[in-house]
């Protein structure tokens, strides 16, 4: 009899369980309490003759004899785990997809690594490597022996349990109560990449668990098909709440791709102010500057003083990418000049903007083609361009980021 300190789940699954009553029993699954910091195995799902039971795992012993794992149980004591925060290792983890939080991607679990301590059995890692696959097939040892003379080894890859986010299968009726807490700590682009790799049902499920703010950031980063999928599966109120938190031009883009009825339903559900803005943007043809411009830009009146302007900026706290150029309009909202942050900082507080602004503003019409925008931006090395309408009124701003996205999209289409 050899004491065991750590072992793989696959090595004990299906094994016979020795017990005083001599009943014919075998191990089907292990149930782990995930409410504590260390995930401890609290119960085992076993098959005794024909019955399937959930029994207390603290009465189990595991040791090794002649290279085989032996399971021993002093008494099959059935316990109730209904109200506990648990995960079934076979049902929810083994062979399933999980998120590797460090690699920030979806991977498939080949095996689970457990540790046997004096205080109980704990889950320490999941195996996603080739070695795990071969072990399950009973091929790991022979292949290792073959490779040994060549000084090569099979790639093994373990992910610590702390870096694992389980994703329940869409048809499992027991919801995993750990509702993707770890996932919401990821950067929205990483999270978007992960969501895209999941199947449609899980996509919707993970997305629904995010708070509105995070959901809006993630939605912006998703590919069109995933965007449509999550929007169609969310309850209409939640979907509207998420969309309200996004820039109007992005929402207009997404709604353009949705079914007309669904888009209309969402617009009706949203606050009037937001939906009006979006509707306006949606009227522009797809290749017009108007369809990609941002409408919640900031502008100042010609008679504002430098001090007033800086005071306004402090109040508005604009995003970094809209603060490069501050546009100045006259009383009819016509674009009359542009002031840079530098100009503001070096001028005396009481100077009015019309004295320091640059009157030679490069601008585009909202109905111009997007391609002309690219030329202008690269020609004058701009970070943003103001957009005016027929009456020369300032109606929006296009930021270079949005153009890069447009360009990438166009390139993808050609490929």
């Amino acid at each position: 009899m050899v004491r065991v300190t750590s072992f793989y789940l696959s090595r004990i699954l299906g094994n016979k369980i020795q017990n005083p009553s001599g009943a014919n029993a075998s191990l089907l699954d292990l149930i782990v309490d995930v409410s504590t910091i260390r995930p401890k195995v609290i119960a085992a799902k076993i098959k005794q003759s024909k019955d399937i039971k959930i029994v207390d795992f603290s009465l189990f012993e595991i040791y090794k004899e002649k290279g085989q794992y032996v399971l021993e149980c002093s008494e099959f004591k059935e316990i109730d785990i209904l109200n506990q925060d648990v995960i079934y290792l076979v049902k929810h983890i083994m062979d399933k997809q999980i998120v590797d939080m460090n690699g920030r991607k979806v991977v498939r679990v080949n095996d689970v690594r457990l540790a046997l301590l004096s205080t109980g059995v704990f889950v320490i890692a999941v195996d996603i490597g080739m070695e795990g696959l071969l072990r399950r097939l009973g091929l790991a040892k022979p292949i290792k022996n073959i490779l040994k003379p060549f000084k090569k080894s099979i790639q093994s890859k373990l992910i610590l349990w702390d870096d694992v986010e389980p994703i329940s299968s869409p048809r499992t009726d027991i919801k995993l109560s750990t509702s993707y807490v770890k996932l919401s700590t990821l950067h929205p682009s990483d999270l978007a990449d992960i969501i895209e790799e999941l199947d449609k049902k899980t996509q919707a499920q993970v997305f629904a668990s995010l708070d509105d703010e995070k959901a809006a950031d993630v939605l912006e980063e998703l590919e069109v098909t995933a965007q449509i999928n999550v929007l169609e599966s969310l309850p209409i109120e939640k979907a509207a709440d998420v969309l309200e938190r996004m820039p109007a031009d992005e929402v207009a883009d997404i709604l353009d791709d949705l079914k007309e009825e669904k888009a209309e339903e969402l617009l009706n559900e949203m606050e009037k102010e937001a939906s009006d803005e979006i509707k306006e943007l949606m009227e522009y043809p797809e290749n017009a500057v108007g369809s990609i411009m941002v409408t919640d830009f900031i502008s100042f009146k010609t008679h504002f003083t430098v001090e007033q302007t800086i005071y306004e900026l402090r109040k508005l706290k604009p995003e970094p990418d809209v603060i490069y150029y501050l546009y100045v309009t006259d009383n009819d909202d016509k674009l009359s000049g542009v002031v840079s942050l530098r100009d503001l900082v070096i001028s005396e507080p009481e100077t009015p903007l019309y004295e320091i602004m640059n009157r030679e503003v490069i601008s585009v019409m909202d109905t111009d083609n997007i391609n002309s925008l690219v030329d202008i931006i690269s020609k004058y090395s701009l970070l943003a361009v103001p957009v005016i309408d027929n009456d020369e009124k300032l109606v929006g701003v296009v930021i270079i980021n949005d153009i890069v996205y447009e360009l990438l999209k166009a390139r993808k289409k050609i490929v």
Binding site: I128, R136, L137, T172, D199, K201, N229, E260
Partner: protein, 414 residues
Amino acid sequence: MTKVKKSNFLTQLMLILGIIGPGLVTANADNDAAGIATYASVGAMFGYRMLWGLFIITISLAVIQEMAARMGVVTGKGLSDLIRENFGVKMTLFAMVTLLIANLTTTIAEFAGIAASLEIFGIPKYISVPLFAFIVWMVITKGSYKKAEKFFLIISLVYLTYIFSGFMAKPNWNEVFKNTFVPSFSLKSDFVLIFIAMIGTTITPWMQFYLQSSVVDKGLDTKHLKYERIDVFLGAFVTDFVAFFIIVTTAATLHKHGILIDTAGDAARALEPLAGKYAAYLFAIGLFGASLLGAHILPLSTSYAITEAFGFENGLNKKFKDAPIFYGIILFFIVIGAGIILLPNVPLIKIMLIAQEINGILVPIILIYMLKLTNSKEVMGEYTNSKTFNIIAWATVIFIIILTLILLVMPFVL
């Protein structure tokens, strides 16, 4: 944005048209190079005698395709994903090896089709096969195969001409109808073998994987199930409608004159009543489209199935070094598929038939996995198989197994 509500009928129609696709496309792609060769051989060798088989296979096909589509709609997952998650690594490996063998032989058959069709235009296989192996690789890796797919599909619609040719060949309609509904059977091994090939070309392992992924890709919901069913049933009917006429046409023209099919040119002769001296060219165009379509779908869908099951990196948006196994399988399929055809003196039509026999022998394995999954409450919830579906699907499985056993036993009995 229009605020006008569309009439109910129109919305319904738009909905149906939006959903229809995967079933019809998959079914049509199934009339590939090997399919044409098999149906044509069935007609040429045994006349109308196997029509009843096709009639029954059509029902099986519809039921089995519906199972795949339903699984895709309900779970949102591919077939290989489901196999891995529900049966573990060993059973997954078994399923994947089955798929690999069946699909590799089919890929070889598709390249045989490319070679055979272009030989009719006088292009030797030593030029056509390497060239198109390269083109297939480029189209797949450049990610433009979705567009190419539609193009090849349209070319392969040339096979609809068999329907007209079928009428113009003036078949004995009485015989046709009688044989469609009254079974006749022979225990001779060439009869059994071609019968298995006929099943294997109609209900293939790859189709189940491909159809399910297409359905998943479309993102259909359970509320679309009714329409997806129409799509799948229509697909099964249309494919076998074409197959039916290929058999009738070749039976009425080739079988009557005792011509067996050894080359693509022989199969083309069945189109003579319609196209006269242009028959060979017409046939070649269709065969070319169908083969090229298959040569794209098979490597790609096999690679997706295998990498998904084992959790290897995959996807056409990844670079070769990030997903080496994914691209490796595709490359392997194209190299072996084209390579075997380049061997001197390989009989092209024969290869297509052998591929379908292997498919037929292996298809029950995949069907058993599908039956297990579609009957599992855990996987399908309330959408498990109905009793009728189970009976038809199991009968198909058992029937093919019996045919395979006959094939194995016969050489010893006779």
